[in-house]
Subunit: 138 residues, 4 copies
């Protein structure tokens, strides 16, 4: 299976995945197989002081990095660990995370992601390590 076929399969998977649906996130890939997760602003994304919750940035970064790596493997990959740096607070703006591959290894992958507002402001960055499993998707 090539990355384009996997990308189509992953978008289908994402569209029925519970947490992304619950948060209003969508997935697409660009021509270089960067994974792009978008989420329009909604009040339920916020913490108690009316800004987007750190957990949302983490979810965006984990997801975008995961799909950017996973599109290069036939079996499922699992997130081993990830880190997030929150650069600026966000209130009321739509967000998009873009995931990029750092390294596609035999048993481990590394990928990064950045989160920008719809206006292009860089608001969070992060990345993770992912383990290649023997688990197929279907």
């Amino acid at each position: 299976m090539d990355p384009a076929d996997r990308a189509a399969r992953m978008i289908a998977l994402f569209e029925r995945a519970p947490l992304p649906l619950h948060l209003g996130m969508t997935l697409r890939f660009d021509d270089d197989f960067h994974a792009i997760i978008e989420v329009p602003h909604a009040d339920f994304l916020d913490h108690g002081l009316g800004q987007v919750h750190g957990g949302i940035f983490a979810t965006l970064i984990d997801s975008a990095a995961w799909f950017a790596a996973a599109v290069h493997y036939d079996p499922w990959i699992s997130t081993v660990d990830f880190h997030v740096r929150l650069l600026e607070p966000v209130a009321g703006e739509d967000l998009a995370a873009t995931g990029s591959v750092v390294r596609i290894g035999r048993s481990l992958a590394a990928a990064d992601a950045e989160v920008r507002t719809a206006a292009g402001r860089l608001v969070a960055v992060g990345g993770g390590t992912f383990a290649v499993t023997g688990v197929p998707y279907t």
Copy 2:
């Protein structure tokens, strides 16, 4: 204001915070002011293969570490960065994250958190750095 007063104020804040409400999370503090975030399992916490999404572990860890630190400060603190290690997959189990202080500094705080299933299985660990702001809560 002392930690017990701040803890009560924070629980009130948390109970009306949009993302925790949307995910079904509750907050309490133990006698040593560890912050405990609990979330009963719900389908909307899962990724596409039916296990709890990494973003949920990150949200639990960011939140538990944040409250464990924040209870020691009068002004608001902001998350600078955090990291998460996902130790074992979880399917269908209730979760609780416990946050602990590492260091309460003048301008920066450090706190850790661990996530366990209701049965006590350790499934994720992490921690973060938080900056003391001049912003009051109310």
Copy 3:
């Protein structure tokens, strides 16, 4: 091989390992197989403003966490990633890092470490992820 035998073998390995020798570090294990790396202060540990360099804290944390995990495996483990939080600057004090296991898995391990001055002041914390390889120690 049991942890006590591995510990003895690891101390022998450490005592001839080039970087630890070059930096003056020593290794021991306590009765619970926590790994303890000690380094007496020396000028060559410092950055340009006369405090201990961040790279030394990272080396201590990577090493202490690595040995705390490795003592539980027969084959070699390799560091996948690690993170470090520098809590307080240190000038002219001896340091000791203590590594503790978080999880011993089949293919991946997690361990943490903290660094204290000889006087017991907590100055840095961190942890990492380690992959179990098929490489023997010989």
Copy 4:
């Protein structure tokens, strides 16, 4: 003071900094003020199995990210935390780390770094958070 003046001052500082001297590291900046730390291979950089020690990658990444950020500030900045992903083992090869700015804030900066062998192979990546202090350099 502009970045070019600060870069010259930092190189002078680095050339007499104890740990970099002890490890054989040199610093330069490119025209875009990326910080480049180079280290020729030496046996004392290795761990007990004859490959470059993780602490060296961490030292390179902390240093390159630190200088990439610090060149944009008049006062001293201090490393708050950093993380490192070790992508491939290295044995006997010269290394160069390149640091890049992610964000230059009023009180906090973020910067990343990557480490490549002389042949251009990407072997480690990482990044950190840095706090702006009131401490002048001299």
